[in-house]
């Protein structure tokens, strides 16, 4: 049975605009602490730019380390968002309503964060522009469109632009609510952003079509982005463990696994912070956990495929790499930790209804998934480079430096801070969607019980 509460429009406005209208001290302390961590990371980046990449743990032959791992991780998180939002909109899943905005916003901020990683990793980020865009006309330097490292920015840029536009269009009716409840400069700001929205029949109809149409267009982008990210590795023939045809779907489903888990984590935190128990209900977490069981198991299937294909080739270097990942320390520890964290602990736990409806256990399992998925990316990227090969005469291992650890840690703070700041300016649960849910729901009596009924339009 669903735990619905009948709410009026005014109550919904009041509840969902609470994050914008109230100014609790804890909020600013939290934002301040996160901002401080981001500032420290800025200092670390500046230090690195000044001294060069030598201050990182990168050394031949391991030239992709924490930064690229973190890039792939945040691109993965970004997939939650629009995937979750788009699929749930397309199938008109009723429980999508509180999840879509948080998912879309998480997409935007994690993508922005992801994009900073290769720029930082480049050491001289301004030079990246010359190999991504045809800018250096004077010297005749053009991007090599045959390189996966040029496909990647084109995909990520497309995804980021689309996600920002998607969030903005869906926000317009909610901005109008904020406009109607504010005065002074805030009223002027929201009036400009609301574009003169009045809530006419035409505007609502197009708003509904926008959700479905944009979802349909963004889904192919979403699939392409992580496929192309996987080709950053798979298109390289020289590194064992990377050159795999199954990488694209493996990366995409892995991204969905980590991303949906991150959305659940964020939803639970927001629910507690802004007292949104009537909107983000236990039934929503229950439904998301069931979805995660399917996603995680599909991801695990692709993981097994990828591993087996590696062994099945019977190529010495490939098998040597797998041995290194599974039996040699420290890789073996990371390998076991990633499997246990991302599958063997959370999935069996989600089989129990009591876990799916428990706030602390859902937080625990979804955070665990992302610890595991971060390690998964690390295990994919670094051991392949670190494996000793013939004719390699300069030999260094890889131990991340303090600079890398600070920057990677700060990316988590940055995404959290940006989500919190967004919640201060815009509602994080779609108000129009929540109200529509109330308009369309009713109770019908079947025998001796009353059950919730939802009217659905074609």
């Amino acid at each position: 049975m669903q735990e619905r509460v009948k709410l009026t429009d005014a109550q919904i406005n009041k509840d969902l605009l609470r994050s914008m209208e109230e100014n609790p001290l804890w909020y600013w302390l939290l934002v301040g602490a996160l901002g401080l961590a981001v500032l420290v990371a800025f200092a670390a980046v500046a230090y690195m730019f000044n001294r060069g990449l030598g201050v990182t743990g990168l050394n031949r032959p391991v030239m992709w380390g924490f930064f690229i791992t973190n890039f792939v991780f945040w691109i993965g998180i970004s997939h939650a968002g629009v995937m979750l939002s788009a699929i749930l909109r397309l199938v008109q899943a009723e429980w999508r309503r509180p999840a879509t905005r948080a998912a879309e916003v998480l997409t935007v901020f994690s993508l922005m964060t992801a994009m900073t990683m290769p720029l930082i990793h480049a050491g001289r980020p301004w030079r990246v522009m010359y190999w991504v865009f045809p800018l250096d006309w004077a010297r005749g330097v053009y991007p090599n469109v045959r390189s996966a490292l040029v496909w990647d920015p084109s995909a990520v840029f497309t995804y980021l632009t689309s996600s920002i536009l998607f969030v903005f269009i869906a926000l317009i009716p909610d901005i109008a609510v904020a406009r109607d409840r504010t005065t002074g400069w805030k009223h002027v700001l929201y009036s400009v952003l609301a574009l003169g929205w009045r809530g006419s029949v035409r505007q609502w109809k197009l708003q509904l079509i926008a959700g479905i149409l944009l979802s349909a267009v963004i889904l192919p982008i979403f699939v392409s982005v992580h496929s192309i990210v996987s080709w950053d590795f798979a298109a390289a023939v020289s590194v064992e463990g990377w050159h795999s045809t199954v990488f694209a779907p493996y990366f995409v489903i892995g991204a969905v696994h980590s991303g949906v888990s991150a959305v659940v984590t964020v939803m639970i935190i927001l629910r507690s912070m802004f007292k949104w128990q009537d909107y983000i209900r236990l039934e929503h977490l229950d439904a998301l956990a069931k979805l995660l069981i399917v996603v995680a198991t599909t991801w695990f299937f692709f993981f097994v495929l990828e591993f087996l294909f590696g062994l099945y080739s019977l190529e010495g270097p490939e098998i040597r790499l797998r041995e290194m990942q599974v039996f040699e320390m420290p890789w073996a520890a990371f390998f076991v930790a990633f499997l246990v964290c991302s599958y063997f602990i959370p999935v069996p736990m989600w089989l129990f209804r009591s876990v799916r409806r428990s706030i602390p256990l859902m937080i625990f399992t979804t955070v665990l998934v992302n610890v595991g998925m971060w390690l998964e990316r690390f295990i994919i990227i670094v051991p392949g480079l670190a494996r000793k090969q013939g004719l390699t005469f300069t030999w260094g291992g890889y131990t991340p430096s303090a600079v890398e650890i600070i920057i990677v840690f700060a990316t988590f703070c940055m995404v959290s801070m940006l989500v919190l700041l967004f919640a201060k300016v815009f509602p994080l649960i779609p108000i129009g969607d929540a109200k529509e849910g109330v308009v369309l729901e009713d109770e019908i009596k079947i025998g001796k019980v009353k059950v919730p009924a939802i009217m659905r339009e074609d």
């Binding site: 406005n13 496909w151 409840r181």
Partner: protein
């Protein structure tokens, strides 16, 4: 004589739907009134005319433009800086397909957004007549009629139990 707008405000959807019948009785057509709400209602809930739109054309145009730009950019880049690799052709179509795919979808998204804004008749500089109570759950019946029939429409809205009737240029709400 110029047309004027008048807004009747109702505190629930049923009353607003009934009031549209009263408007029809004083000669207001389906095309002459719009319904302003704080949330989407099922189509036809107020007996309003179903809006006609051409939104589906926009992503198609955008996709074609995006594809063209991406194709020109990738082929132009390779032709402008030709590097023969392994005796293969200068234009690498598999690589161009990937960037063209992204360009196509980016064009489709941008044009969809522009289409939604255009078809929603946005941006709009003035909301007059409008009332912020609409986003609090009230229903607004926005009627457009010739100036000489304003009184009849006003009376029809009041007979339909409107809690407030707001005339254009009267108590206004500046966007």
């Amino acid at each position: 004589m110029a047309n004027k707008n008048v807004l009747g405000l109702f505190d629930n959807a049923d009353t607003a739907a009934d009031a549209t019948d009263g408007l029809m009785e004083v000669g207001v057509n389906q095309e002459d009134f719009d319904v302003l709400t704080g949330s989407p209602y099922p189509e036809g809930a107020f007996g309003e005319k179903t809006p006609v739109h051409h939104i589906y054309v926009f992503p198609l145009i955008g996709a074609l433009m995006g594809l063209s730009v991406a194709f020109l950019l990738t082929s132009g880049t390779q032709i402008a800086y030709p590097i023969v690799t392994g005796g293969k052709p200068i234009l690498s179509f598999p690589a161009m397909t990937i960037i063209s795919y992204e360009g196509t979808l980016l064009g489709a998204v941008i044009f969809t957004i522009l289409g939604i804004i255009f078809e929603s008749r946005l941006p709009r500089a003035r909301l007059d007549p409008y009332d912020p109570r609409i986003t609090e759950g009230y229903i607004g019946l926005l009627v457009t009629c010739p100036e000489e029939r304003l009184d009849a429409v006003d009376q029809a809205l009041r007979r339909g139990k409107a809690v407030d009737v707001i005339h254009e240029g009267g108590r206004s709400f500046r966007a």
